[in-house]
Assembly symmetry: C2
Homo-oligomer: 338 residues x 2
């Protein structure tokens, strides 16, 4: 473990063992501790620290508060053809979501396409996790969740919409192309980080108290008026995803989740078995041709790189696996106390 003033570089294996040990101490049984530790570590390896190592202490806090029930497993509610509705039973979000993704793939193997929904589940952490899971197994994947209200409707001041992440994933070569897109232009975590570093945002990320679009993270945190992706468009998409998630799962919607003690979400997992399509043999070439054309884009300047969703993650993953995962010393110290 290398030391660089306030940052440590923690090897992935060491991180995973630590997480696993802590989870075992907090009521997770062997297999569940392993799986959960692997997911938190993989998100950290991929550079999504906000939902990996940096989030781990809060996850344990939720276990201690009994919001996340370590031993709870999802239970079956209803089947309608290739759709299954499950209750998440307030179990660990990442484990419930991994199960639902796996089950959606099983249904897709039977029916071409499968949809699994979860009600009463905890925060799934990094949304993209389940896109990578399905795409690496050769499935196309569409998934989304609702969240607590953290963004105003278009034309409004108060928070009534969730940032409701949407994930679309496809297998690509031996890896995947994974879009992991929340409906706010910036996450609250990204705003806080920019404020801490005293940096401006690269594009307008919300409104200040006077209603002006601003790149100043502190003003946006103060007003609470995060900008939806594409202004009115992302606000509309957020509302639709909340309605779809609640309707398809029979679970809570954003306005209901916001009144609970923890973020008990409704989630949707759709998998498509592309090996069953008539054109399945031509798909690898089709995707390669699209990406080749995309990469031939003329960059606006020397600093700009044209990357597809998930492309940078592959680089971060390689670097973090080689050099270790960068973690703030104070974060790692706190984890060691858990």
């Amino acid at each position: 473990m290398l030391v660089q003033e306030t940052m440590l570089l923690v090897p992935a294996s060491e991180m995973q063992s630590a997480f696993s040990r802590i989870l075992l101490k907090h009521g997770f049984t062997g297999d569940k501790a392993e799986k959960c530790a692997a997911i938190f570590t993989a998100s950290s390896v991929d550079g999504v620290y906000t939902h990996g190592v940096n989030r781990f202490p809060r996850f344990i806090e939720y276990v201690l508060n009994n919001y996340v029930k370590p031993g709870a497993e999802p239970f079956f509610k209803h089947r309608a053809g290739c759709i299954e509705q499950w209750d998440g039973n307030f179990g660990p979000g990442p484990l419930n979501a991994t199960f639902a993704t796996e089950r959606a793939m099983e249904l897709a193997r039977e029916s071409g396409m499968g949809c699994v929904t979860l009600s009463n589940t905890n925060h799934w952490m990094r949304a993209g996790t389940y896109g990578w899971q399905a795409a690496k197994k050769g499935f196309a994947y569409i998934g989304f969740t609702n969240t607590i209200a953290n963004m105003p409707a278009w034309g409004a001041k108060d928070k009534r919409l969730g940032n409701n992440p949407l994930v679309i994933a496809l297998p690509y070569k031996d890896e995947a192309i994974v879009l992991d897109m929340a409906m706010s232009q910036y996450s609250f975590g990204a705003l806080e980080l920019a404020k801490m570093k005293n940096e401006k945002l690269s594009v307008g990320g919300g409104f200040d108290k006077e209603g002006n679009l601003t790149k100043d993270p502190a003003s946006i945190i103060e007003s609470g008026r995060l900008l939806p992706v594409g202004f009115w468009k992302g606000a509309g998409l957020s509302l639709m995803l909340d309605m779809l998630a609640a309707l398809l799962s029979g679970g809570l919607s954003t306005h209901e989740i916001s009144r609970k003690e923890a973020e008990y979400s409704s989630q949707v997992f759709i998998a498509i078995d592309i090996s069953k399509l008539g054109n399945q043999s031509t798909i690898p070439v089709l995707l390669e041709n699209i990406i080749r054309d995309y990469h031939q884009s003329v960059a606006i300047d020397k600093e700009s790189r044209i990357v597809y969703p998930g492309e940078r993650i592959l680089e971060t993953r390689r670097r973090n696996l080689e050099q270790g995962i960068p973690v703030l010393r104070q974060v790692w110290d706190a984890i060691m106390q858990l």
Copy 2:
């Protein structure tokens, strides 16, 4: 028909009869002329003039050029469980898409969820048409198409991405909630209209030649650098929708469509039969509660109204059915010559 200087108010029935008559003259048989005329009229009634009455002359031009083949019908290619792949056979886009939506609903009645894809189909005109079609019959609907390249990738100058509209629709009361969202912040048509009226855009809609984000429509038309919804996020979503559409349909992708004489798209239609869900009896109340909470948003000022996707359309529809559809005199005159 009322006359207001350069605008006419055309009753919907009169518009539909005119369209139908013109289509019959151009090789459409009775039923197809009727259906196609009804779709162009309904889009105009709903205020989507760009893909209704204003687009009709170009549609006829495409028929005359044999890009749109009036008598061609989609043919079946492949079935994989609840997914069906059809070839659009270069038939009229709105008729192909209506058929695909209908078929997706039939598959959903069998399997809970159904997916129909179309390759080699013509422009479906207003994307939302098929969302309204499915939602009014009680289905949840997700649909999208790819388009010609009309937007640069994030960090690029040249157009490699389509604006690839995405539609999500749900039944609501006796009507529907329909999100119809292209991946560019503004359509090219909206930019041209604002330029013509010498108006600024309400938010940044693209970049000028120097790479500055601007609200000036003329500068964006000059540079060709339309802004993706949510900057890098909408650019990523556009790429994913293109890949999904081409992959699932076995049709052309944006870079291929852009080299053809007309916009031969790949399209995806997903219907979910919500009457088969375990919680189906509670859905109306669930949606009403979400919309009630949403409507309780505190507006930023007296001019702002908090509306859900499709809510304004209901008002426009009512007004246009009562008063007639506003059409530029020169547009209507041109149609009368077809």
